[in-house]
């Protein structure tokens, strides 16, 4: 059949099905192939907290959204143009997110009484007109898969499990992507089970040819490669980037990397990643709990390692007291908090930015730590290196905040040449003469003297210490002096970090400020407003404690300041407290990232009020 061919600039696709349907795998494969053909791409995996929620139910639905384009993009897309729904529950959960007139590709075999009931449909939505206005494509995905594997000798269960490859093959055809990368992947992934490998490939191709031959699709789409800067690229998630960043920091500082960690979603992947790289001398210690994770990292740092601990909100809460110990003993460690929905166990697999105040303030006593945040998946790489640099230079604990959205989301990353990444200078004290554990250098850092060094034997601990000598001191004046000194040490770091950069229209009246993983959505919203010839500026905080030195002067320039956050206004609070800035907060606390149009609409409203 002769088909039309149509060029698109950008497309947002969402794959959705049961948690057992392999949607994360399907989405990842589509992403990798899409990256390989040179599109810019951004992803949003969205999966339930339960590993295998009851089949067919709405709370068992797992989704994977990706946005790809021939231009530079920042977000996984606001509303999907296409939904692949493997069952009624997937349709029910995702329908409200779709663009008007979106295409819905449906596995029609699963729209039978039992699954409809499980999804809570009284009437089959394919029959009741509720999908009018959408372009519904009904594909008998299950039965076509069974037919493709007729005589394969596989069990009905195995056959059913490969139907996601049918969907993938069909989508590859529809968006003109090559099947080879996935074929290669199947070959290596299922090397030990050739029967399954063959079956998956067969189904993938069946899906592909189905797309070509069926009359359901009259048009085939293509998206040209994006005009990205020259270089070698890979697709990277935030958690991968964080792991690579710390390995790089270890190589660049010449110190061994020691990770003490207790598994927790969505941070565990950093532990998994780092555990693979023992040939870099990486020391990963899966501790008995969060507290042992950080205290072991402190012990390792005391004895000369780049000591880090990875966690999410509830784990950061448990590490609170130990963070105070690191502040008091002035030991360089890095705590990575991959934020998720809270409080308590909250929404373990969903994203949020609600640990900011915990990171900045959540400890007993006057207990300043450095808090920095990564804005995109690949930015995690650079912020990990930055966290290590600051910790070493100032002998201070650093909290690096990321979130579930950028941790699991992926984007193309132009791989840096390692030679272009600066060395991290580390001062280790070996000189006996004149040594005291709490001497101060020009950065107010105390000397790092490692056990095993003759003549530098010393004791540190959580009791207040006299400056210079490091002896235990209960002297009232000394305590105030030390409290102020620790605060000054952190504050001084403002002289050693980049200024807050303002993008967009510097002469606008409205400034949008954000921090962390909202970067993409804000950036996209601001760009769209500016395309409509309206003025707006955007400043994104990567350093929060301390704030960049020019923060006050930036904030002062604008008549109105908007701060979108995935919390109830935590950065806004900090900006108000420190700079008396008149910040209007814009919040979303649904476990989901902002859609850029949500921010765009808010900006429009505020511009209208000016």
């Amino acid at each position: 059949m002769e088909k039309d061919s149509l060029e698109l600039h950008d497309v947002t696709v969402r794959f959705a099905g049961d948690s057992g349907d392999g949607m994360q795998l399907t989405g990842t494969q589509f992403t990798n192939t899409t990256a390989l053909v040179g599109n810019d791409v951004s992803t949003l995996p969205d999966y339930p907290a339960e590993i295998r929620a009851p089949v067919g139910t709405t709370y068992g639905v797992s989704g994977f959204q990706l946005h790809f384009s021939n231009i530079d993009i920042q977000t996984p897309g606001d509303s999907p143009d296409v939904l692949v729904a493997m069952n009624p529950a997937a349709l029910k959960v995702n329908l409200r997110d779709l663009k008007a007139g979106a295409t819905i590709i449906i596995n029609v075999n699963s729209f039978e009484t039992k699954n409809l009931r499980l999804a809570g449909y009284d009437v089959n939505p394919l029959d009741d007109g509720s999908l009018d206005g959408y372009n519904v494509v009904q594909v008998p995905l299950s039965s076509l898969t069974s037919k493709a594997l007729d005589g394969s000798g596989l069990s009905a269960k195995d056959i059913s499990r490969s139907k996601n490859f049918f969907a993938l093959g069909m989508m590859y055809w529809l968006y003109s992507r090559p099947v080879e990368p996935t074929i290669d992947w199947i070959d290596s992934k299922f090397k030990s089970v050739p029967l399954i490998a063959e079956a998956n490939k067969k189904v993938l191709m069946a899906g592909y040819y189905y797309g070509e031959n069926t009359e359901l699709f009259t048009t085939r789409y293509f998206v040209e490669p994006a005009k990205l800067p020259q270089g070698m690229y890979r697709s990277i998630s935030g958690n991968e980037a964080t792991a690579l960043g710390f390995i790089t920091a270890s190589v660049k500082s010449g110190l061994p990397l020691f990770l003490g960690s207790y598994p927790i979603t969505p941070a565990s992947d950093i532990l998994h990643e780092l555990s693979k790289y023992k040939n870099f001398g990486v020391r990963t210690f899966q501790a008995e709990d969060e507290i042992a994770g950080i205290t072991a990292a402190i012990g390792a740092a005391f004895s000369g390692a780049l000591g880090i601990t990875t966690t999410s909100g509830p784990g950061l809460a448990l590490k609170t007291e130990a963070l105070g110990l690191a502040v008091m003993t002035e030991v360089p460690i890095v705590v990575i908090d991959v934020q998720r929905g809270g409080p308590s166990t909250g929404l373990p697999t969903k994203t949020e930015q609600s640990d900011l105040l915990q990171a900045v303030h959540g400890r007993n006593g006057e207990c300043p730590v450095v808090v920095i945040a990564a804005s995109t998946p690949s930015d995690c790489f650079y912020m990990a290196i930055e966290a290590a640099r600051i910790a070493f230079k100032y002998m201070v604990p650093v909290i690096l905040l990321t979130d579930g959205y950028i941790a699991n989301g992926a984007e193309p990353w132009k791989i840096p040449e390692p030679d272009t990444i600066p060395e991290i200078k580390v001062k280790i004290r070996t000189e006996k003469e004149g040594f005291f554990p709490y001497l101060r250098d020009e950065n107010l850092a105390r000397p790092w003297a490692l056990p095993g060094t003759p003549g530098l034997e010393h004791r540190i601990g959580g009791l207040e210490k006299a400056n210079i000598t490091g002896n235990v001191s209960y002297d009232p004046e000394n305590h105030e002096f030390m409290v102020r000194l620790r605060a000054r040490k952190v504050k001084n770091i403002e002289n050693d970090i980049p200024d807050l950069v303002v993008a967009g229209d510097l002469d606008a009246e409205l400034l949008v400020v954000g921090w962390g993983g909202t970067y993409g959505a804000i950036n996209e919203a601001v760009n769209r407003i500016r395309e409509n010839d309206k003025k707006v500026a955007h400043a994104h905080f990567k350093y929060i404690s301390p704030f960049p030195k020019n923060t006050r002067s930036v904030l002062k320039k604008y008549k109105k300041i908007l701060c979108p956050e995935l919390n109830l206004g935590q950065l806004s609070q900090l900006l108000k407290a420190e700079f008396m800035a008149d910040v209007e907060t814009f919040n979303k606390i649904q476990g989901l990232p902002f859609k850029s149009y949500e921010i765009e609409n808010k900006i429009e409203t505020m511009l209208g009020e000016l």
């Binding site: 040179g38 190589v251 130990a322 840096p416």
Partner: protein
């Protein structure tokens, strides 16, 4: 990784005495433990700079400040976790933990069982005074049931932990007990612990003369000690009593007191102590002696077992992987995975 380096210099106890004033209450048992450690340290063959003392919070946990070695005074309960980080990162160091019964067995109980399970090469000295000293006298997880303290004016209703049973159950590979008032014995236990490779645990009965005075009096006073303390000795029958007239025999799995004067059993019927008994059942039985009426409290080495340490295995694994995979190459690591090249002409080459 390197073994702990052996020294060639001669030290005295003075070399291990820091300049800090010791701030325990006069008469506290902690003084003796400190003195025995300072006396023993020179003989351990370990360079001073390779010692690290780690502690939690409590009276006992002030210990590192008084040792002229590297020291880390941590937070309550976390001493062994901090020490694990030190030792795993630096197996060349000799890492010691000073801790109290509240610190190790209450707030830090989780870390204790896991360090034993892993067999991290740490020397843990438990200063067991059966009370919370630093917080001024509440009952602890080793206080006897019914103990009257500030927080239990009508008597505590908690059953206590038996630290030795706990250590046996958790798989510690060296388990011993000693008394603050028995300097020679304590020094010997410290030396034995230092020589052990793996988690070495010494419970020291320590008198808190302010909040729990006399808790171990019958074990330490001349008149009562012999009848109430059984000194465990490798390969020796279990004999105790003022006149060495009593012993312990094992009847099946039940220990029984034997009184030679009664004539039915002789020394030949006694249980011969074997520290290296591969089955820890018997170490567990010994650990519970004192809970039986008429039984003495054992001191000495309950058990020693030789197995690989966590820290050694940790580095062996890393070294093996380095050997087989080759030293990590940062460029190769970054330039891996799904890669593609974007050229000037914006053509894509896949790799």
């Amino acid at each position: 990784m390197a073994d702990i380096e052996v020294k060639d210099i001669k030290y005295t106890s003075k070399d291990f005495t820091s300049s800090q004033d010791v701030r325990w209450c006069p008469g506290c048992g902690d003084y003796s433990i400190l003195a025995q450690m300072q006396r023993t340290a020179p003989d351990l063959g370990i360079k001073k700079e390779n010692f690290v003392w780690v502690s939690g919070i409590g009276c006992a946990s002030r210990f590192p400040y008084y040792m002229e070695t590297y020291g880390f005074h941590g937070i309550h309960g976390r001493a062994v976790a901090i020490a694990t980080g030190v030792k795993v990162n630096r197996p060349d160091l000799s890492v010691w933990v000073a801790t109290g019964d509240g610190d190790l067995l209450s707030i830090g109980g989780n870390h204790f069982i896991h360090v034993c399970r892993r067999n991290v090469d740490l020397k843990i000295i438990l200063f067991n005074n059966r009370i919370y000293g630093l917080t001024k006298g509440q009952y602890s997880p080793t206080s006897e049931k019914g103990k009257k303290t500030k927080s239990s004016p009508f008597g505590s209703i908690d059953f206590p932990f038996n630290p030795l049973s706990l250590a046996v159950g958790a798989g510690a590979t060296f388990i011993a007990r000693s008394l603050d008032r028995d300097p020679k014995h304590l020094q010997e236990m410290m030396k034995r612990a230092a020589a052990h490779k793996g988690t070495a645990f010494i419970e020291v009965f320590q008198n808190c003369n302010i909040f729990n005075d006399g808790a171990f009096e019958i074990l330490t006073e001349k008149e009562t000690k012999a009848d109430n303390v059984l000194v465990l000795q490798q390969g020796k029958p279990m004999i105790f009593g003022k006149n060495n007239d009593k012993g312990i025999r094992l009847n099946g799995l039940t220990p029984e007191i034997v009184d030679f004067a009664q004539g039915s059993f002789s020394i030949n019927d006694l249980w011969i102590h074997d520290e290296f008994d591969p089955d820890s059942t018997r170490a567990h039985i010994i650990s519970r002696f004192a809970e039986k009426p008429g039984f003495p409290t054992p001191i000495g080495v309950l058990k020693q077992e030789f197995k690989s340490t966590y820290d050694a295995d940790f580095h062996e694994q890393i070294n093996n992987i380095r050997r087989t995979k080759g030293e990590g190459d940062l460029r190769k690591l970054l330039f891996s995975g799904n890669m593609w090249q974007v050229n000037e002409s914006n053509k894509i080459n896949n790799n």
